[in-house]
């Protein structure tokens, strides 16, 4: 739909050319990963690359036999817990933040951002000490809590830009109708913000699902996540690229489902509030 008058052929051609280059750049490694997962260990590394080969799906069956399903379950638990925590904490905070003014609001916003600034390698030891102290080491909840440092500020920032676009008159009308602040949030703000909540939830899910270092440090036997499992596969003296590729491909599925189902929501959700 090049709805604009005067959009020249050259411009559309340029756009198409750019898009095809961009999309190939983006998709090619994923395609390669997918191909690698159905090759043999040697085939995956062969030069010149094998384009025609007998696909070998044993890597996928090994996902089940080698106990990776547990890490999928753990990752799902952690990511979903994190999404719930982020939303439960972040939504009221973001709402409150948009209904503040002046210095307090500025300072809190900056504080939120600064939460992410400590380099991870430096806070790993304190975090480990902290979670050991409260007895949460090697539990999904510890990872979900630690992920809050990444996801909560991000979620609040995205929600704030959106909430700000909801007129304050609506709050006030609801207050006059007899609502408490929580009711205002529940019956007015949240229903309006539903697409945005979906997008933020998905992005939070993906970040939590993908995170490696914190998940690695805070868990061991009982709560290993998928990225940690992938990394551990590249073990000493054995390098099983098809298996790594297969697990990686399978690990995309849950996040992919979210993105696929809610891709429209993401953009429209982020979009409605971003510029106001």
């Amino acid at each position: 739909m090049s709805g604009y008058a005067g959009q020249s052929i050259w411009k559309s051609l340029g756009r198409a050319a750019f898009l095809s280059v961009a999309v190939s750049f983006v998709l090619f490694p994923i395609l390669w990963l997918a191909l690698g997962s159905v090759k043999t260990r040697n085939g995956a590394l062969a030069v010149p690359p094998e384009f025609i080969f007998q696909p070998d799906f044993t890597a996928y069956t090994r996902i089940f036999t080698q106990g990776f399903l547990g890490s999928f379950q753990t990752s799902l638990t952690i990511a979903l817990t994190n999404v719930v925590l982020t939303m439960v904490l972040g939504v009221p905070a973001a709402y409150a933040l948009t209904r503040m003014t002046g210095k307090v609001q500025e300072n809190l916003s900056f504080w939120l951002l600064s939460v992410r600034m400590a380099p991870l390698f430096a806070v790993i030891i304190p975090l480990y000490v902290l979670f050991r102290g409260i007895g949460l080491l090697d539990t999904p909840i510890a990872v979900a809590l630690a992920h809050l440092t990444l996801t909560l500020p991000m979620a609040i920032w995205m929600l704030v830009t959106y909430f700000r676009s909801i007129p304050i008159d609506l709050d006030q009308a609801a207050l006059l109708d007899g609502a408490t602040r929580l009711q205002v949030l529940w019956i007015v703000i949240l229903p309006i913000a539903r697409p945005m909540l979906a997008s933020v939830g998905i992005i939070v899910f993906i970040f939590s699902w993908n995170e490696f270092l914190l998940a690695f440090i805070l868990t061991s036997r009982d709560a290993q996540t998928v990225p940690v499992a992938v990394a551990s596969m590249a073990g000493t003296m054995s390098f099983d690229w098809p298996l790594i590729a297969a697990v990686s491909i399978v690990s995309m599925i849950p996040a992919l489902l979210f993105v696929g189902v809610a891709q429209r929501h993401i953009v429209s959700g982020l979009g409605a509030g971003a510029v106001k």
Partner: protein, 456 residues
């Protein structure tokens, strides 16, 4: 009567299952190791995830549950460190490498000295049956801190077909001959227009891992562990003689050879290569020689789909340097008991079991490489059925030939290995000249030793 009997049997069964079920009564021993599949293939099956009958039997007999956790070597160490630094004691047994972790962790007091325990499970582990250098590699200041799980010495694996093709009749015995052979191969490839096979594959990535081989070169050229004046290898010796680092001195020749060979004869990406790349390249038939950590070639051969690699790969002892000592690459995977373990006795029992002759035999069976920690296994059909006796003898000789102390055994070892490896990587990649890299290494080392208080 029969009914009566049945009832009794039922009750007995109930009692038995009840007795077996409360996990609380059992001691759990947690082990962290490097990489799934390889290290514990004998105990956790080919998939590395399911316990074998042998392990289940052991657990039942000793009333212990063994929990395994795997991670990539570098990251696993990070976690072990956190566990140890905080005295958490979550891991009872930790896997270690003899190129730093044993020295460092024992110096920090994180490892339990095993002397007192050796007697307690003699039926499981008998140190007298193990190759002595592997025990020595885990001994720091006279105390044994870990038992060898899997170990190797130096050697070369090469492609006999390529050697024959270019008229090299036997594998070089000295580094000088080796240089000539490499050049012959290089010229030969060039003449035949072969651009994707390299005379040599080694590892030159930054970090400690490649230093293992690099220091083998240094040892062969200098004739001693040339890190400090006079070649001391323990903190006490260094302190006694106030020996200064000499990375721009005797260290240089071996370092330069390693760097130059990597640049001249190695694959183009060698400055970033670790064991994975080294192994993959050999397995893909892209290198004529893998050296001096021959084990990495054996790791790649079984899965290789290049017929020549399978058919014509041969082992040769590591060549000797100008000093007469051979180029070293010696390492043991070892397992130690955490000083913070709450069940040290049980932990030791598991450790003894893990490194026992019986388990190691299974291991050799499963993994199929010509290496083991027990002479008895080396000479048994487990290996002799698979490999030529001559090769096994040569490999055994490399164990005895090895000087585990071919680099110093100081607490700062890992740190030194890291800096040395990074300096080599820099020089190979051309980011620095050899002299620049060594100068920087020298001044860092001097300051570091100072800071650690060696010269007070």
């Amino acid at each position: 009567m029969s009914i009566h009997f049945k009832q009794r049997a039922l009750v007995a069964a109930c009692v038995a299952s009840f007795a077996a079920s409360p996990a609380l009564a059992q001691t759990e021993i947690n082990v962290v190791g490097f990489g799934a599949g390889f290290a514990w293939a004998d105990l956790f099956g080919a998939t590395g995830a399911e316990k074998t009958q042998k392990l289940l039997d052991f657990e039942k007999e000793h009333d212990i549950v063994v929990n395994m956790e795997f991670a990539d070597e570098d990251v696993a160490r990070q976690k072990v460190l956190l566990d140890l630094v905080n005295g958490t004691g979550d891991y009872d047994l930790v896997m270690l490498g003899s190129d730093g972790a044993v020295q460092t962790f024992s110096a920090a007091g994180y490892l339990e000295a095993l002397g007192p325990y050796l007697e307690t499970a003699p039926d499981l582990f008998d140190p007298a049956k193990v190759y002595p250098p592997f025990l020595e590699a885990n001994t720091v200041a006279g105390e044994l801190y870990a038992l060898p799980y899997y170990s190797f010495g130096a050697g070369a694996v090469y492609r006999k077909d390529l050697f024959d093709k270019y008229g090299i009749s036997e594998f070089p015995k000295t580094t000088e001959e080796m240089a000539t052979a490499l050049q012959t191969l290089k010229d030969g490839f060039a003449a035949d227009g072969i651009t994707d096979v390299y005379p040599l594959t080694m590892r030159g990535a930054p970090g400690e891992e490649p230093s293992l081989d690099l220091n083998g070169f240094v040892y062969a050229y200098a004739g001693y562990p040339a890190w400090f004046e006079g070649g001391p290898t323990t903190p006490e010796e260094i302190k006694a003689s106030k020996a200064q680092p000499i990375f721009t001195g005797d260290f240089k020749e071996g370092f330069s050879t390693f760097v130059n060979w990597s640049r001249e004869y190695g694959p183009p990406g060698i400055a970033g290569h670790t064991w994975v790349d080294m192994m993959n390249l050999y397995a893909q038939g892209k290198a004529a020689i893998l050296f001096p950590s021959a084990i990495n070639a054996f790791a790649g051969i079984p899965s290789s789909e290049v017929p020549e690699v399978k058919e014509f790969s041969a082992f040769a002892p590591s060549p000797a340097g100008p000093s007469g000592k051979v180029v070293q690459s010696f390492w043991t995977f070892s397992v130690g008991v955490s000083a913070f373990s709450k069940n040290k006795q049980e932990a030791y029992e598991v450790l003894a079991f893990l490194t026992s002759e019986d388990v190691m035999r299974d291991f050799a069976e499963v993994i199929g490489w010509p290496y083991t920690t027990y002479p008895s296994i080396m000479h048994s059909p487990t290996l002799t059925d698979k490999w030529p006796t001559e090769m096994l003898d040569q490999i055994e000789a490399s164990f005895y030939d090895a000087d585990p102390h071919y680099f110093p055994y100081i607490p700062e070892l890992t740190e030194f290995m890291d800096h040395i490896g990074t300096a080599a990587s820099s020089a190979i990649s051309g980011a620095q000249t050899i002299d620049e890299a060594l100068d920087e290494l020298q001044s860092w080392a001097t300051e570091r030793m100072d800071r650690a208080g060696y010269y007070k």
